[in-house]
């Protein structure tokens, strides 16, 4: 199914646990995922589903004092889990570029834009100061900054939110990393700028043939941008498939509920679907069985698997737990909480 040379990142049985008090709780629970060359893989889920934790685990930026990461994240036969810091620092920025959510906070307010982008090059290349400056100007032009010379010498507060996000992207792609992780890159931006930034990401992907992991809670962004989609719920991947499959044949009850909660422009139905309950918190997460069960209580308990595993429902399309077979919206009892 997957040609090994196309495989950029192979995540196997990943667990990321946070310490609460004296105990560790899994925020990522047994995630298996691959990232291929030349694709945009979207990871979607509600807040608290563990999607950002997954990103931070890949780039190894968790505080080791209160986090425990186990499993394998394989990159070029190198396991990133438990990698020592000096080697990890050679990979961060050089092999994995990261784009952060809030471009206002992600840039150092006291450093010139040019210096912030060049900083990546300082630690990963043998370029001279002049070569670095030239490369930074090139990058600024590449991410669509008008007047790069001027912006090079400016400070973050002098730029708009959209411009700053372009700078953050320039930092991430400075060393042409094969893997780019974009953690909610458009959440802090307004809609017109969102579209521009997504276009930019796609252009960069086409140019560099890198693999992009796009983390978002915005299904519209996914539909527009992604090649493959992983739907996360409560620290697990519940559905994985091509964007086309997931949007046209959503299978897991959670994916179907999510898509049903999206406003449709062409729909006459003016009432949106509401998923019962909330995402369980880290401490209250049930460890065994299907984690979505408590939010679809009308499904009989024996429809879920005791130890849910992935079912292949189509080529390259996987769904967790067998409950999708018995799940129908029509069976949901009318709730009294509407309105």
């Amino acid at each position: 199914m997957e040609k090994p040379e196309d495989l950029l990142l192979d995540i196997q049985h990943l667990h990321t646990a946070f310490r609460v008090g004296d105990d560790f709780f899994d925020a990522i629970d047994d995630v298996n995922l691959t990232l291929r060359k030349d694709e945009i893989l979207a990871i979607v889920g509600e807040s608290g589903s563990g999607k950002s934790t997954l990103a931070t685990s890949i780039i190894g930026l968790h505080n080791p004092l209160n986090t425990r990461v186990t499993g394998d994240i394989l990159y070029n036969n190198l396991n990133l889990v438990g990698l020592n810091e000096p080697i990890y620092n050679r990979i961060r920025g050089n092999d994995i570029g990261m784009i952060f959510q809030d471009p206002l906070a992600a840039l150092n307010p006291l450093m010139r834009i040019g210096d912030q982008i060049a900083e990546t090059l300082v630690y990963h290349t043998k370029m001279s100061k002049e070569e670095r400056d030239a490369r930074v100007l090139e990058l600024l032009a590449q991410v669509g900054i008008p007047n790069p010379q001027r912006v090079f010498r400016q400070y973050p507060h002098e730029l708009s939110g959209g411009m700053r996000q372009r700078i953050v992207i320039a930092i991430a792609i400075a060393c042409k990393p094969p893997i780019i992780i974009a953690d909610e890159p458009t959440t802090a931006l307004d809609v017109t700028i969102q579209a521009q930034i997504l276009d930019l990401l796609r252009d960069i992907q086409t140019e560099t043939h890198s693999g992009i992991i796009l983390i978002t809670h915005d299904l519209g962004v996914v539909a527009e941008t992604a090649d493959r989609v992983a739907v996360m719920y409560a620290g697990q991947i519940v559905e994985l498939g091509t964007a086309q499959d997931v949007f046209e044949h959503p299978t897991h009850p959670y994916t179907r509920s999510l898509l049903r909660s999206m406003p449709q422009a062409d729909s006459d139905d003016d009432e949106l679907h509401v998923i019962q309950g909330v995402v369980p918190s880290l401490k209250n997460m049930q460890v065994k069985g299907c984690r979505f069960a408590e939010r679809i209580p009308w499904i009989p308990a024996d429809a879920h698997e005791a130890e849910p595993h992935m079912h292949e429902v189509g080529p390259d399309h996987f769904v967790q737990c067998s409950c999708y077979k018995t799940f129908h919206f029509e069976d949901e009892p009318a709730t009294t909480t509407e309105g």
Partner: protein
């Protein structure tokens, strides 16, 4: 940046005028005048009245104010009748002593406070941090005069490591190397104790800044670039945390002047603070007025300095 500085200078002018009017009016409201000291049972009241008229003390207050300001500009702040010499020269000598004491105090304060604040912030909740925290709270809790007196008693009288009063030994000849050493010897104890006293605020400020900045998004960005942790700390965390400290340095002038009143009095160090207290004791009004004006002016200057430092170190402050 020059625009910012110029604008701040212009703002200072009305502040200075207001300050001088207030100091002058307060001085006028105080009982007595320069001739009160001349009155003896034998003095003819008419003679005093004549002297007052000659000195212009019967003129309207604004006429007197403008005359006072005009004299100020010529460096004439009147006569000290306790010291029987012009106030300008008297304060000038004392200001030099206070300047050196304050400078050494500042150096001591920051060389102690900055490393301690950085260590406390970087190793939050560690044993080192806790020890430093206890140190700052003890210094904050102990009244400064208790601390100063205790230091004077221990290091001056019991251990006899430092002289207990004055700013220079009486035997030293001005201009010699011995004179210079003697001055340093006299400055050290008051400067070290006063310096340590003023470390608490800086340590706490810096500790909080380091902890806050460590959790900032831009620090995570720096880490995601593969920047070594050592550089992340010095270039991104520390630099941003030192910002408020640098800006506060100008304001610390005010604190030093206030502190000098205690320090110089307790160590009998002949500076402006001690002069201020002794002038109040002897009701040497012209000296009190001049010093109040000078302290007010230096406070304004300190604030100006803070703003200038801020506009140099923080690009967000600069007015374009």
């Amino acid at each position: 940046m020059w625009k910012t500085i110029l604008r701040r200078f212009l703002v200072m002018i009305p502040q200075l005028i207001l300050l001088s009017v207030m100091v002058f009016v307060l001085a006028k409201m105080m009982p007595g005048d320069p001739f009160t000291g001349l009155i003896t049972p034998q003095t003819d009241p008419a003679h005093i009245a004549q002297l007052r008229a000659q000195a212009g003390l019967n003129d309207p207050w604004w006429t007197q104010y403008f005359r006072w300001v005009a004299n100020l500009f010529q460096g004439d702040m009147g006569q000290s009748y306790a010291f029987k010499r012009p106030v300008t020269g008297l304060i000038g000598d004392r200001a030099v002593n206070t300047f050196w004491l304050s400078l050494v105090t500042l150096i001591v304060a920051y060389t102690v406070a900055i490393p301690l604040g950085v260590i406390a912030g970087r190793f939050e909740d560690s044993m080192r941090d806790k020890v430093i925290q206890v140190y700052t709270f003890v210094l904050l809790a102990v009244p400064s005069f208790v601390f100063l007196l205790f230091a004077l008693l221990l290091f001056g009288y019991v251990l006899e490591w430092f002289p207990t009063s004055g700013y220079v030994s009486l035997e030293a000849d001005p201009g010699t190397f011995g004179y210079f050493l003697s001055r340093i010897q006299h400055i050290l104890l008051p400067a070290i104790t006063a310096g340590l006293l003023s470390t608490s605020g800086t340590i706490q400020y810096l500790r909080a800044g380091v902890i806050d900045n460590t959790n900032e998004d831009f620090v995570r960005t720096a880490r995601s670039k593969g920047v070594p942790e050592r550089v992340v700390f010095s270039k991104h965390i520390l630099r941003n945390s030192l910002l408020p400290i640098a800006a506060f340095m100008g304001n610390s002038i005010t604190g030093l002047l206030g502190g000098s009143i205690f320090v110089e009095t307790i160590f009998s160090y002949q500076g402006m603070g001690q002069l201020f207290i002794s002038s109040i004791g002897t009701r040497d009004y012209s000296v009190i007025t001049a010093l109040t004006l000078l302290f007010g002016f230096l406070t304004l200057l300190g604030n100006l300095l803070s703003d200038i430092i801020m506009s140099i170190v923080d690009p967000r402050i600069r007015v374009e």
